[in-house]
Symmetry: C2
Subunit: 236 residues, 2 copies
């Protein structure tokens, strides 16, 4: 079931850039490594968030579903929750959130997760549209995303912070997903304003980076021309 | 004792660049993750190679020692050996070795280890000189390295291959250490000519990246000005 000091990652963000979007891990396999996480489905099928062991998908039509065990993913992060209270937060935009989560520093050299439960006066998310094989590249997919906005919504923002050194494997900095308590909105967070909430944090000393070595397209792909870091910067 | 599909890494190569050379893991702790590996000691104290569970250090005076359990390291790779025979190799320089290890491809998208046991008609290694706190940067240390050469020596070359995406965390490409059977030469491999030998390979699907989160210097360091990739390229 995983250990609380370990962040498990299946796939890398780099493999989404050229469109290596085959589902290479099942939800059942992923949930063996924790109860809290984020990810995306095969073909960038929606934005995933796992809370208290339950995997939710926010799709491009604005619907939230609970996922089945055989749902497959090209990329996901998961860990076993053991959050510690860090601070209360009021009137916070993404910048104020980041400063609070980093305890005033500008960056961190290790991986950590942040969970914010609270009342959001504004939430803006996106969910990408699933593509079928041959899969789109990340830039093409990003053009087809749906954008959702909501005011005054209660919910959970789940964030993973990755050190800059691992940019490409992960999103360097914060990667935020959201789920409303009433499931009225979810997805990859583009912007928000937190009216008031509680910020919990969990530090990891280990990244368990799992790669889809049985996927021939991944193993045979030449990443050298994909300009990974720039594309992730523009699209994530 | 580790699993045969996992490469365990303590620290990153990036932290050697600015001279974050404190020993943050003991040999006893490292050996819990495998029986085969490479690394360096606190202050870049020699070049390490672990074979069949025994940790050896090639120091800057050209001596080889067996290390004790309380020896500490800022950086190491280790795994549980389960090598498979890949090919016999004759008259091979580093380039021919790399082509054979990659089965003719120019790169790999996952981590793997290669072990070559054989007769080397030429071996050129280096071992760095230990620095004391305040530690030297990797570039300063590299200027003080000792170079060793030997002809017609039997021994084991142990290599780890890391995908380019992880350059900085590891050495992108091959990272080779060597130990002569008679312990007459060892260290970080700079050049070699293999007369004849057997090449064994072990593929990993998981990198277990462990970071020294209890080391304040590491956690507080700003890596953004260290030009990590370039320095590793020049010095490793």
């Amino acid at each position: 079931m995983g250990q609380t000091n370990v962040l498990y990652q299946h796939g890398t963000l780099a493999l989404l850039v050229p469109g290596l979007l085959a589902g290479t891990l099942t939800m059942k396999e992923l949930l063996q490594h924790g109860d809290t996480g984020i990810g995306t489905g095969e073909g960038l099928n929606g934005e995933l968030i796992i809370l208290d062991g339950i995997p939710y998908q926010a799709d491009s039509f604005g619907k939230v579903h609970v996922l089945k065990n055989d749902f497959t993913m090209p990329f996901a992060n998961i860990h076993l929750a053991d959050f510690k209270f860090l601070t209360d937060l009021k009137d916070a935009d993404p910048e104020k959130f980041a400063t609070a989560a980093l305890s005033g520093k500008t960056n961190s050299n290790t991986f950590f997760s942040v969970r914010v439960k609270g009342n959001f006066s504004y939430m803006k998310t996106r969910a990408v549209v699933k593509s079928a094989p041959p899969f789109d590249t990340l830039e093409e997919t990003a053009k087809k995303q749906s954008i959702f906005e909501k005011h005054d919504v209660e919910g959970t923002l789940l964030s993973y912070y990755s050190p800059t050194l691992f940019h490409g494997a992960a999103v360097g900095g914060f990667h935020n997903h959201f789920l409303a308590n009433d499931h009225s909105i979810g997805g990859h967070v583009l912007d928000f304003k937190l009216a008031s909430g509680k910020l919990d944090i969990q530090l990891f000393d280990t990244l368990e980076q799992h790669l889809p070595v049985d996927n021939t397209e991944f193993m045979d792909h030449d990443f050298s021309k994909d300009n990974i870091a720039d594309v992730i910067e523009r699209t994530e």
